[in-house]
């Protein structure tokens, strides 16, 4: 058992679960998606990306890649939201769907990342 493994593992999973928490709900209704959850998802996703830095293995590289994808999706989602709020000053169905579905894409990347992580854990014999 390794403290770094526990912390980083929990952040990988947390990134997925918080991401799911934001994504869950009617994709056309913004009220069902909390801005605080998006914020938490971004922060945790960034932290889990940093946790994956510096791992020289092949798996480490793939994990880092999925994590970066999740970051990009989530930040894009937040950017669209801010743009809708301040520039367009209107939330159409389309905008709301874009915000939620971008987070959905991030969720997918996080799921892949967690699956890889679990697979690696199962593979190791110790």
């Amino acid at each position: 058992m390794n403290m770094h493994k526990i912390v980083s593992g929990s952040f990988f999973i947390l990134a997925m679960t918080v991401n799911f928490g934001f994504f869950y709900g009617d994709p056309t209704v913004l009220a069902e998606h909390s801005v605080y959850e998006l914020f938490a998802a971004i922060v945790i996703s960034l932290i889990s990306t940093v946790m994956k830095l510096g791992d020289r293995t092949q798996l480490g590289a793939v994990l880092l890649a999925t994590s970066i994808v999740a970051d990009i999706q989530l930040i894009a989602s937040a950017t669209v939201w801010a743009f809708a709020e301040y520039v367009i000053k209107d939330y159409g169905v389309e905008t709301v769907t874009v915000i939620v579905s971008l987070a959905g894409g991030a969720l997918l990347a996080n799921v892949i990342s967690v699956i890889l992580y679990i697979g690696d854990t199962l593979k190791s014999k110790r």
Partner: protein
């Protein structure tokens, strides 16, 4: 290896990034949660965007002021906490990045990377030189950029810095590394397709043999030029199938032997190393009783040469270290020394050799002997190249500088292979033969002729190879004609022709030239230039051969 640098950077940046993310997010969250009051007194909550914007410029100490509205005191309390929190995080991050740039490990990795790239990009054949010192420096000066490039490994950082300050052109890739480590040899390009060989001339025989063994395992195809200073060591290297063992003491021993028994053979060899092609009286080794001061490897080599030549000798075993300890002086010649000199028979000796490891001691021994016997022939071992002027001023007949001999021999082996073969072959001949050769060379090419090595191929002899490929028979004599008037002879002498593994010493001028022949030509600059024109220019060649008027 590029990868490695990225990993080092990423790993180091992990902590600062985490600190930044955590401090930023806590500050942002706090600002969003605390209710504020706008200009008209309404309560509002900052959005995440507002908070992110504000924290970004606050943390980086840019500070545009309070936005979007002036803060109330709840907000200010939080902000004053957040300022210290984020600014410290930010500074820590910047500090970490700056220290990363100065990081020893990273710098080493970057240097190593640059060195490997340089080695990788070498397109000409190159030698790996292990250890940088005055010997290898003189080798680098002579071969770098001419036919070969050079890569240097040395375990001392100072030496490498010294090399970099030399500003060799073309650049000599150099790196700090232990030459006995496989990894370092691999980085230095021992597996590179252009790697011609490894040169290891360390003072310590153990190091040399270790390196030779490793190199031999790593790459069988390369030349391993290695120094050995004892016969056992030479045997060991022979068992590894290494042919290029340089033993400076063996060279000295042979020179003494030939100097005494066959001065013209000696002269031919010395000429290959830059001596003029004339036997001066002061060069002649006298015959009679030899007196040797100093023993060790050098003394042993001298004795071997003298024994082979059948010369009577007396050795005075004297170690420079013991002498200095005993007398607290490096100046030889108190009463005791003088009486020993006379006892050993300095007055009826013809030659005195000072072969200790101390230059001053050597000089003073010879000086004293000369006082006692003005006609005595003097020979000295010189240990440091810096003292050369002093030795020259002392008018010593022969000076043996182990370092220089080693450098010359290695250079000749690498860059003048035919000269090396010529020396070997001429040693098999007798004095009479050598006398004739020297006289002939003097007659045709003068007292201080130069020698050139060339290979008959498309690159060096374009016109000649065209003719040869057509199946024409061209003899050596055909080419020895002036391009101004083909009835005149050029002042050149073919000293040696190498065809595959066969070596023809003084080849017959009616011999046909074949593609791939290697020639050792003696001439002066003008005549050799003419020769080069003739073999590479179609019109000149056709004129000389008589195809064209």
């Amino acid at each position: 290896m590029n990868e490695q640098i990225i990993w080092i950077v990423l790993r180091r940046l992990r902590a600062p990034f985490l600190v930044l993310i955590v401090t930023f997010s806590i500050s942002i969250l706090g600002l969003v949660l605390i209710p504020g009051v706008d200009d008209s007194g309404n309560v509002y909550q900052m959005t995440f965007f507002d908070a992110f914007y504000f924290v970004s410029y606050m943390a980086s100490t840019i500070g545009f002021g309070e936005a979007p509205y002036s803060f109330n005191y709840e907000q200010r309390i939080w902000v004053s906490f957040a300022i210290y929190f984020t600014v410290i995080g930010w500074f820590y991050g910047i500090g970490a990045i700056v220290s990363l740039v100065q990081d020893e490990g990273l710098r080493k990795a970057l240097n190593r990377n640059a060195f490997m790239m340089e080695v990788k990009k070498l397109t000409t054949p190159f030698y790996i030189i292990l250890g940088y010192n005055s010997i290898t420096k003189s080798i680098i000066n002579r071969i770098n950029g001419y036919d070969y490039r050079v890569v240097v490994l040395d375990k001392s950082e100072d030496k490498i810095e010294e090399l970099i300050l030399e500003n060799f052109y073309p650049n000599v890739p150099a790196f700090v590394g232990n030459a006995t480590k496989q990894q370092m040899l691999k980085i230095a390009g021992i597996h590179h397709k252009n790697c011609k060989g490894v040169i290891s001339l360390f003072e310590d025989d153990m190091t040399n043999s270790q390196i030779a063994t490793i190199c031999n395992i790593l790459n069988k195809k390369i030349d391993i030029i290695v120094k050995a200073s004892s016969p056992q060591q030479v045997e060991h290297f022979k068992s590894l199938n290494l042919n290029n063992v340089q033993n400076p003491f063996d060279i000295i021993s042979k020179r003494i032997f030939y100097g005494i028994t066959a001065p013209h053979i000696w002269l031919l060899e010395m000429w290959m190393y830059g001596h003029i092609l004339k036997l001066k009286k002061r060069d002649l080794f006298p015959k009679g009783k030899y007196l040797i001061y100093g023993y060790g490897r050098m003394g042993y080599a001298i004795i071997k040469g003298l024994q082979k030549a059948g010369i009577e000798y007396i050795i005075k075993d004297i170690s420079s270290k013991d002498y200095i300890e005993k007398k607290h002086s490096t100046i030889f010649g108190d009463e005791e020394d003088v009486s020993t000199l006379i006892e050993l028979g300095v007055k009826d000796s013809v030659c005195i050799i000072a072969a200790t490891k101390n230059d001053l001691l050597n000089l003073s021994i010879l000086n004293k002997a000369k006082q006692l016997n003005p006609n005595i022939f003097t020979m000295a071992r010189e240990n440091s190249l810096d003292d050369l002027n002093m030795f020259q001023a002392a008018k010593i007949n022969k000076i043996y500088i182990v370092e220089k001999i080693l450098a010359d021999a290695t250079y000749n082996y690498i860059a003048r292979p035919l000269a090396d073969i010529f020396i070997q072959e001429s040693r098999k001949k007798d004095e009479e033969w050598a006398t004739i050769i020297v006289e002939m060379l003097n007659n045709i090419t003068g007292m201080n002729p130069l020698y050139y090595e060339t290979k008959i191929d498309n690159e060096n002899a374009y016109a000649l190879s065209l003719q040869l490929n057509k199946g024409k028979d061209i003899t050596l004599a055909n080419l020895r004609r002036s391009r101004e008037d083909r009835n005149e002879l050029l002042n050149i002498v073919y000293l040696l022709l190498k065809r595959g593994d066969e070596v023809y010493l003084m080849p017959d001028s009616n011999m046909n030239i074949k593609m791939g022949d290697e020639l050792l030509i003696v001439s002066n600059e003008d005549n050799y230039e003419d020769f080069e024109y003739i073999v590479s220019n179609i019109y000149e060649l056709e004129y000389v051969l008589g195809y064209r008027v």
